[in-house]
Amino acid sequence: MARHVISTLAVLGILLPFSGLAVAQEKTSIKLGVLEDQSGDFAVATIGKVHGIQLATEEINAAGGIDGRPLELVIYDTQSDNTRYQEFMRRVLQRDKVDAVFAGFSSASREAYRPIVNQFDGFAFYNNQYEGGVCDANMVVTGAVPEQQFSTLIPYMIEKYGKKVYTIAADYNFGQISAEWVRNIVKEHGGEMVGEEFIPLGVSQFSQTIQNIQTAKPDVLVTLLVGTAQASYYEQAGAASLKVPMASSVNVGQGYEHKRFKAPSLANMYATVNYIEEVDTPASKAFVEKWHKKFPNEPYINQEAENSYSAVYLYKQMVERAKSTKRDDIRKVIAQGDVCFDAPEGKVCIDPKSQHMSHTIYLAHVGEDHTIDFPKVWQDVKPYWLGDSGCDLMKSDPSAQYTPSNPPVATK
């Protein structure tokens, strides 16, 4: 045993000078930590995010890097496991000493790592749509939030199909808070909730849920299902001929269920997305083409992949304008309110009060044969809710998450 320890020490002794050398050599590169789920239940929706970051990095480095410095990625597979996020977040901030971290798919994982980012005063980008409300100066959120996805979607559905709404949602912070948003917006528009069911992550059998929905006879079904197990719902509902029009902020735009399931199980689904590969603009087509050149086997380019791609360019702009990778310097740039980027979806800008991002919101409609059309597009939808309800990161940093029933206290 003693010999074993000694030999381990000897090996370390040989290796350490080399690792020191490596650090010295790459002193000039800017390091970006990437913590995304490349295996496990969420991998379907998130492998594309890593590819988006890699694509943008390759382009940026080919064009001379960020302010002349190459961008270097430190990528870890978080395995759809919240504790991995905590481990790897500590690792990238403490050991790898990255300048910024791009991290997280599920809201549970974001809330798992956020205290660690705060503790080490790191700088993290959450490139994912979510339930909204994170007011934290250590975070930049490039994904869409409920006032962008639901304030557009729900009124459209109520007007088109009727007032009775039923929600099925994944049972964790994302589903619960999103369902609260749906409830409030339905009420504001004179609708009525005829049912709500929260489904534990990992549940894959929906026979009884389908029947509960049939009993309530809704005009609109809001599906906020997360993870591959829950996606089985669509196939099973389709097989039971449940044909209620569906609305969602996560499905199609994240898990491309319309590609994975045989038509017509997703027919008549409406989803508000800030991007999907079917978006029919020249910018989007060029984006899809160069993506497939680098990743020919990519099954789908979803909105989080596009958010991740855009986020790298936004970070480049922030660093170049701040002439620094320090968070305080970068936040002075964000405070100017004009950090914008011509993303594949259209122009996006960072809101200085909440450090969230404006988006073009596309209403994607899935047809009988699972083709997508866009009945409506909302240009430049701002992430206004946090700012309007009292979150102002230029004045104070509460590092908290708020919900409609628990808004920021504006007196500070």
């Binding site: 009884q208 509960n212 089985s232 449940l242």
Partner: protein, 290 residues
């Protein structure tokens, strides 16, 4: 009339939950319940059945043949793994946990690397039918039928065939069986293969109704272990009644308060049964009979 409709609906939902539990658990009942191997790779045999049968369907094989092929391939892989790994661990049951867990991780990650993060489904066959105000999937009735048929077939195999008698003899008292000229190595291998094939069958049967991803086995494994643990060692006196009890509890609570209540209720029922009947339902029935 309404009473009839709701009765049918309750029977359908309970039957559906029963079928899922029986089909998930049968393979495990053979490998874990009978042979005592704690098989954490059970979900990956299910994955294997699902992927093989779906690929076969995509290639144009009719669904029943594709499902049989899925079960067959899973069975063969099971026999192979038994020869290579599990065989050496029969006297070290706790070590089988680590070994099969390792197999499970290699299989999941290997599938992800080789076949990608998802496979396109084939769609559920047979359409739907109406009873009262509700529409139901016909395929779910087929699944219930298959659950019962599987139980019947297993009963015939273990009580009416020479293999069944030899398998039970080998597992009960291996050295006596060997002294009487039974090739126990072969019997262990075949029995393990049978368990794996049953898991593959469950995968093939549920593949048209589910998301096909490398982690899909984990959707079955909790239900499978729970059913086998409260059922006890005997498939017919254990697994089947355990699945029936859990199915009814789960369906009733899910229709009353949603999926969360269904899950909680099922796990509570497990705790209660284990507390009252430590040897499982079959242990209790057999003691009563003795």
């Amino acid at each position: 009339m309404d009473v009839l409709y709701s009765t049918f609906s309750f029977l359908y939902q309970s039957g559906d939950a029963f079928a899922f539990l029986v089909l998930s658990a049968c393979g495990l009942a053979v490998i874990f319940g009978m042979m005592g191997v704690i098989n954490l790779a059970h979900g990956e045999f299910i994955l294997c059945g699902a992927y093989v049968s779906t690929s076969a369907t995509h290639m144009g094989l009719p669904l029943p043949l594709a499902i049989a092929l899925g079960a067959g391939v899973a069975g063969l892989i099971g026999m192979l793994l038994e020869r290579l790994i599990v065989r050496h661990l029969y006297l070290r049951p706790l070590d089988t946990i680590v070994a099969t867990w390792g197999i499970s991780m290699i299989a999941t990650q290997g599938t992800l690397i080789v076949l990608g993060s998802t496979m396109q489904g084939t769609g559920t066959p047979f359409g739907s039918f109406m009873v009262g105000n509700y529409s139901y999937s016909v395929y779910r009735i087929v699944l219930m039928g298959m659950a019962l048929a599987t139980l019947a077939a297993l009963w015939l195999v273990f009580t009416r065939t020479r293999f069944g008698v030899l398998a039970r003899a080998t597992i009960q008292v291996p050295h006596i069986a060997q002294a009487l000229g039974v090739n126990t190595g072969l019997i262990y291998s075949l029995t393990f293969g049978l368990g794996a094939a049953l898991a593959g069958l469950a995968g093939g049967l549920y593949a048209p109704t589910m998301t096909l991803v490398p982690t899909m086995g984990s959707a079955f494994i909790v239900e499978a272990f729970v059913t086998v643990v409260i059922g006890g060692a005997d498939i017919f006196l254990g697994t089947a009644p355990a699945a029936a009890i859990l199915g009814v509890v789960k369906a009733a609570l899910t229709s009353w308060q949603g999926q969360l209540a269904g899950q909680i209720g099922m796990l509570l029922a497990v705790i209660i049964v284990i507390r009252i009947l430590p040897r499982g339902i079959s242990g209790w029935i057999l003691k009563e009979r003795a």
